[in-house]
Structure formats: C-alpha cells, structure tokens
C-alpha cells in the first residue's frame, strides 16, 4: 500500500508526523478515510477519534483537515492520545459542564456549554471503546 505524509498539529505541539497508509478522521459531515493520492480536500473536524493506520488512536477536538499534494495536515485545537485521557478527570469536567448548562441564562452560554458537553461525551466514548 502506498504511504503518504501525515501531520497532526495542535497549537502547543506536533503530535504526530510521519508516513502512514491510512487515516480515519471525523470530518464535519461524516468520517473520512484518507489514503494516498487523495484529491485535494478541506474540511472542518468534529470532536472524535482519529485512527492512524488502523491502530494508533488520538482524540481531537475542533480543527481542520487539509489534504493536498504534500499530504494530510490536521490542525486540531486540542489533541490527546486516547491512552492519555484520564477518565475521572473527564467525568468531573462533564459534571461541571452540565452544571454550567443548567446555570446558563443566555443563549450564548447555553450553546457554549452544550458544545463542551458534546466534546466531553465524544471523549468519554473514546475511552470506553
């Protein structure tokens, strides 16, 4: 199988950089598997799991993917390898977010809180599997 360069970068560090055969990305309108020689493609990313070569799994939240001739670049606002996620911490954060949602009085705060819950739920789902 042909390989292609893949880079996963968050604002704080480069999480993954190297040649891979396939990457599954949770794009805005459905999961996308990127293989070598993919057509130029750009999309927003949902919170979810990126699977590299069917093995390594990373959780990403908020970002963009850009496929072009020089490979796949994933810009993630937040990215953590699944094995580094602390289940208890996520649970407490989830609780805080739910409280926030209940306490929210404006539409803006409400949507912000529910967005957070969504991301945390995706994170929880990642840990469970």
């Amino acid at each position: 199988m042909a390989s292609f360069p893949f880079e996963l970068v968050s604002p704080e560090r480069v999480l993954f950089s190297g040649h891979v055969n396939s990457v599954v990305v949770p794009a805005a309108e459905g999961d996308v598997t990127v293989l070598a020689n993919h057509a130029p493609f750009m999309s927003a990313v949902r919170p979810g799991i990126v699977t590299v070569d069917g093995g390594k799994r990373l959780f990403v939240r908020g970002g963009f993917l850009d496929v072009n001739a020089s490979g796949l670049t994933l810009l993630a606002e937040q990215a953590v390898p699944v094995e580094e996620i602390d289940r208890e911490k996520v649970a407490t954060e989830m609780k805080a977010a739910e409280d926030e949602l209940r306490a929210a009085t404006t539409d803006e705060a409400r949507s912000l809180a529910s967005e957070r819950i969504e991301a945390l739920a995706a994170m929880m789902g990642a840990v469970r599997n």
């Binding site: 493609f41 750009m42 927003a44 850009d66």
Partner: protein, 289 residues
C-alpha cells in the same frame, strides 16, 4: 573619605547583589530553554494555519468576504493589543515594546483616529497608563501562570472577537517582541484584524473539495486564527523576556564584578595609607624624643 568599615560594607552589599543577579541569570537561562521549545513547538501550527488561510483567502474576495478578512471598511477606531512581561529586570524588553506601541499611538492620534489599548501583562500597563490612561480598555494579567497554554490565548482571542462583534473597533494590531536570539529581540507590530494574508505563501492552484462550503470553513477559521496569533505572540514574548533577562542579568553580574574589584582596590589602598600614616606617626614620635 569613606572609612574602612564603610568600604567593607559596600563590598559586601555589592557581592550580595551579584549573587542575586547571577542566580537570576541562571534561572532565566533554564526558563529560556523551555520557553524557546514551546515557541518552536507552536510554530508549525501557525505556519500551517497561514498557508491554509492563504489558500482560502485567495478564493474569497469582494463583497461576500467575511468582515474579519475584509475589515469593516473603516479604520477610525484602532485597537492596540500590547503584550509585555509581568515582571521587570529584563533590560529594555518591556520599554522597547511600549516605545513601538507609543510611536504607533502618536501617529494614529495625529491622523485623527481613536485609539484603544488592551494591555496583556502588568509591566506594559504600568508604563502606558502614565500617558494613555484614558485609552486603556483593560489589563489582562497572566502573572499566576507558569506556562502559557493555548486556552489562555484563546480567552484573549475570544475577548477581542466579542469586542469586534460589538463594533468597538475597526482595526486590531498586536504588539509583541519577536525572539531572534538571546541578544536580539525585535519589537513587532502585527495587524490581526482584518487578517493579514502573507503574500509569500503562494496559494496552490489545486481545486479543493470543501466540506462544508468554503465560506463556512473560512468563517470558523478566522476567529481561530486570531487566538493562534495571540498565542504565538505570547510564546515569542515569553522566550524574548527570558532572553532579555538573561543578557541583562549577565551584564549586571559583570558590572557588579567590576565594582567589587574597584572597591577592593580602594579598600586596600586606604588600609595601606592608614598603616603608613601610623608608622610615620610612631617613627616621628620616636625621633622627637
């Protein structure tokens, strides 16, 4: 003429100061390494962001371009985001950023524009409030933070975005110090709203598939770009601050060493002069008998 005791005290106090500056220099050197690494780790993201923006921005223009990219069509109200350090004793670091900002302010005011200032970092605020207290909108302190995270920069980014959405300003410029090396930090002004698309990043000619459409991606990418720019500025600043402090403290240590040398020499001379004087007194006393 200072007495021997005075001189001894003076030497002791300069020595104590030297110890402190030496320790500060070493701490700054250790912190610099970390700050430099953080700044370097953040660079790929900012670069990728730039090239993606350049790609997108080339395609979208005219009336349907988002306001963050095209501007409000006016430049009457200018927001200056001045990022400085939280602490002093780092040479000309803070004052050179503030000087650049002040030049900018004066130029804008001469042109009849309204200037608003958002200070990030205590030191810049302290200097700027002397002359421009009325223009300062707010001060954001990052003192409690050990390491600047993206979340902190995002907060500032969101803040700027809300202000922009409320029509509080038309153009935003970011002031920070770019880290070149330990001895060279360059105060920089960078326009963030409307976004400056670098001309050097040549847009690729490939036709892209967009999902969802181009405008949606661009409109969610642009606010994020502001946070990323702020983040980069803060990291560059952190590295510059430590670099500036390191060289300032190195100079201070060296000056203290020189001063100790001079004072010790003076001390020895005075001591010898006193001994000679006493000897003369004794001898001439003995001769008189």
């Amino acid at each position: 003429m200072p007495s021997l005791k005075d001189l001894r005290n003076r030497i002791a106090s300069v020595k104590a100061t030297q110890k402190i500056t030496k320790a500060m220099q070493m701490v700054a050197a250790a912190k610099l390494r970390r700050a430099q690494m953080a700044a370097e780790a953040a660079r790929p993201y900012a670069q990728k962001m730039e090239s993606v923006l350049a790609n997108l921005g080339a395609g979208v223009s005219g009336a349907d371009a988002p306001r963050l990219l095209a501007g409000t069509g006016s430049d009457q109200v200018q927001l200056l985001i001045v990022c400085t350090a939280e602490r002093g004793l780092c040479g000309a670091f803070n004052s050179s950023i503030v000087r650049l900002a002040r030049e900018h302010i004066n130029r804008l005011q001469q042109a009849g524009k309204t200037v608003k200032i958002l200070c990030v970092g205590r030191k810049g605020y302290d200097i700027l409030k002397r002359q421009h207290e009325k223009q300062i909108v707010d001060l954001i302190e990052l003192r409690a933070l050990k390491q600047i995270g993206y979340a902190n920069a995002d907060e500032i980014g969101q803040r700027v975005m809300t202000m922009f959405a409320n029509g509080e300003f038309d153009v935003a410029t970011l002031f920070y110090s770019q880290f070149r090396s330990v001895i060279s930090q360059i105060p920089t002004a960078q326009r963030v709203i409307p976004a400056e698309i670098p001309a050097s990043a040549s847009p690729s000619t490939a036709t892209y598939d967009y999902e969802p459409d181009e405008a949606t991606i661009l409109s969610s990418l642009l606010p994020r770009n502001i946070s990323v720019q702020v983040f980069r500025a803060l990291l560059e600043n952190a590295a510059s601050e430590q670099g500036a402090r390191m060289s300032a403290m190195d100079n201070a240590t060296r000056n203290a060493g020189e001063m100790i040398k001079k004072q010790t020499q003076k001390y020895n001379r005075t001591r010898q002069a006193m001994i000679t004087k006493e000897l003369i007194e004794i001898i001439s006393g003995a001769e008189a008998l």
